[in-house]
Amino acid sequence: MSDYISHDHEHDGIDRRGFLQCMAWAGTGLLWTVSGGVLASRTLAQIAKTGDLLPTATDLSFLQISDSHIGFSKEANKDVTETFKIALDRINAMPTPPSFLIHTGDITQLSKPEEFDTFDEVLKSCRTKDVFYVPGEHDVLNDGGKLYRERYLKSVEAKGSGWYSFNKNGVHFIGLVNVLDLQAGGLGQLGDEQLEWLEADVKGLSASTPIVVFAHIPLWAVYPQWGWGTSDSERALGYLKRFGSVTVLNGHIHQVLQKVEGNVTFHTAMSTAFPQPAPGTAASPGPMKVPAEKLRSLLGLTSVQYKQGKTALAVVDSNLS
């Protein structure tokens, strides 16, 4: 395909393809669609080439935010409350507000009551009021998650250490806890009780029900050397194998990574606080300092859209630049 303008309806020197190519060049988008069980991932540059349409009208759209780490104040980001506010501003500026938010953990840096207080206070500015949570290891540091559970599970019927499921517009959502009772030398862990619950929870569902699973630590082996994985996630995914569309949303690693395995799409979100190094590229994981002008390009949120009857699910990341 040539780079010449083929359709310049607005006479502004840029056509739709050119605009999308430019957006893609700026690193603003990667689009995931699941259609008829076949998944395709294309950059916006490729979409510009093929002329495929971006998703328009949807029956359900929700947003994933993650790893806000309220209380962190080191070099990697001295004002994580401010960048969290910017993320909320982005949500408030969306032409169609999301139905709800999912927070995939590490609300706070040190599980302190005052950190949870700050998070709750800032969140009040968000137009979207429904938020579903799963805890990160930073939220359960000294009390096994007691304070977290008291605050963030009021609107759901949580079981055990805080796992639950709910239905929205024909999509079945499952929030899992994999940051508690971790074993020496191991990874994230779901545990027998939660896995048994999961098996029973999805048993009665039709295989055509779209499933969205969310948990803090990735449910796939992103980089076990850094603890970026969950030891018993295979068993969980075994219970979901028969479903035609499974989307797994995780946080913890503060960067976007995807993997597709059969009908399962795995996706990790950016943090609103600070980036972490790509797997294996540093001595260890942890907050990564980047030039100040680059920070917001590495922070962001994830938008997920589902259109009923089309079996289509789109996951789109956007940064805070």
Binding site: F72, K74, E75, A76, Q109, L110, S111, E137, H138, L141, N142, L182, Q183, A184, G185, G186, L187, Q225, W226, G227, A283, S284, P285, G286, P287
Partner: protein
């Protein structure tokens, strides 16, 4: 016979002081075996305990200090000693080594991080 000139006297005194110092040092060396104030330090850096294995005498203190920007904990695998709370950057945690034996511990936040304490008599 050598007479003690003022200069010689000074040399003799210095010798005596040096001898006394050596004695004190030797005594301190012996005391070290049972010194409960000795600090055995383990640095937590880059998601690892350094040194990973430490050998101490029963009754000595062991102190961990967190040099990461991530919180870490020190938890006995077999619950043989009190666990730390989450240590923020530059925070310390100290225990006193108990009965001789081998103790394994880990960070309950990042369980890949493990370490061993060998306590001798």
């Amino acid at each position: 016979m050598t007479t003690l000139t003022p200069k010689n006297k000074r040399a003799a005194l210095l010798c005596g002081v040096a001898f006394l110092n050596l004695s004190v040092f030797a005594l301190a060396g012996q005391m070290k075996n049972v010194d409960s104030t000795k600090q055995n330090r383990i640095e937590i850096k880059d998601f690892a305990f350094n040194p990973k294995t430490i050998t101490v005498k029963s009754g000595e203190k062991i102190t961990w200090i967190n040099r990461d920007e991530e919180p870490h904990t020190v938890v006995s695998v077999e619950k043989q000693f009190k666990k730390s709370s989450a240590l923020d950057t530059d925070q310390e945690f100290t225990i006193t080594a108990g009965a001789p034996g081998t103790y394994t511990y880990f960070c309950s936040v990042h369980p890949k991080m493990t370490g061993t304490i060998v306590v001798e008599k």
